[in-house]
Amino acid sequence: MKVSDLVEKYGLKVFSGKEGLGKTIEGGYVSDLLSDVMGNAAENEVWITLQTHQNVMAIASLKDLAAVILVKGLEPDEDTLEHSREEEIPLLGTAMGTFEMAGKLYADLNPGSQS
């Protein structure tokens, strides 16, 4: 599944970093604690969070994440957008809450999990 597939399927808003929409998603990570993401997220995962400041993109870049999804209709700070553009990592948004978004992504990435 590519980031663009996820955007299309759930009507996610693409705030910035559309150059990275072709990246392949290998997993997901959910956390609002930055050190937790720094320590435990893996390359090409999608990070779902409610943090909107630019350190989110710094971490996404350092960890080579596929994309970041902001939940509950939250809007990124201006410097977060800039950082996303510079790093070409998609910054996405949804009106869904974390639980719902994560559940959908999990089901898409693990098609055998729903019996």
Partner: protein
């Protein structure tokens, strides 16, 4: 011969946290250092940068990229750490409310550094500052 990289960090300046780790990552990539090593050192440097931004008045990062290892020294002038053993404990933090609201200050920083490096040394003096030195061997 080691390549030396230097960066300065201002206390409270979270907008620049990640600059040193990002640059170090690029240099290590150019030098064809193993991806696994780069991933680990980047986590450690980032956490150290955030620690300076969150706790100190000012600090600097010095990275020595050698043939067999990378050594990073992060020194700050700041309040120092009163109880290093406690500070190393996962979940313990003295970060302010504002810092925590940003998602920092979860008490995982030093533990993340330790987990991702081969050696970690913390020298600190209350009221003066802290120097955190860590290294990672390539092989």
């Amino acid at each position: 011969m080691a390549i030396e990289l230097n960066f300065t960090i201002e206390g409270g300046d979270f907008s620049n946290a990640g600059k040193a780790s990002s640059k170090i990552k690029k240099v290590l990539k150019q030098l064809n250092i193993e991806a696994k090593i780069i991933k680990k050192i980047v986590v450690a440097v980032y956490e150290a940068e955030v620690n300076v931004a969150a706790h100190a008045y000012s600090g600097n990062v010095k990275a020595l990229v050698g043939e067999n290892d990378v050594v990073v020294m992060v020194s700050d002038s700041g309040p120092g750490i009163e109880n290093v053993e406690l500070a190393m404990k996962e979940g313990y933090s003295t970060a302010s409310k504002e810092v925590r609201e940003m998602g920092f200050g979860a008490g995982m920083g030093l533990a993340n550094i330790k987990r991702n490096t081969d050696e970690l040394k913390i020298e600190t003096k209350v009221g003066e500052g802290t120097t955190v030195t860590f290294s990672l061997n390539y092989s």
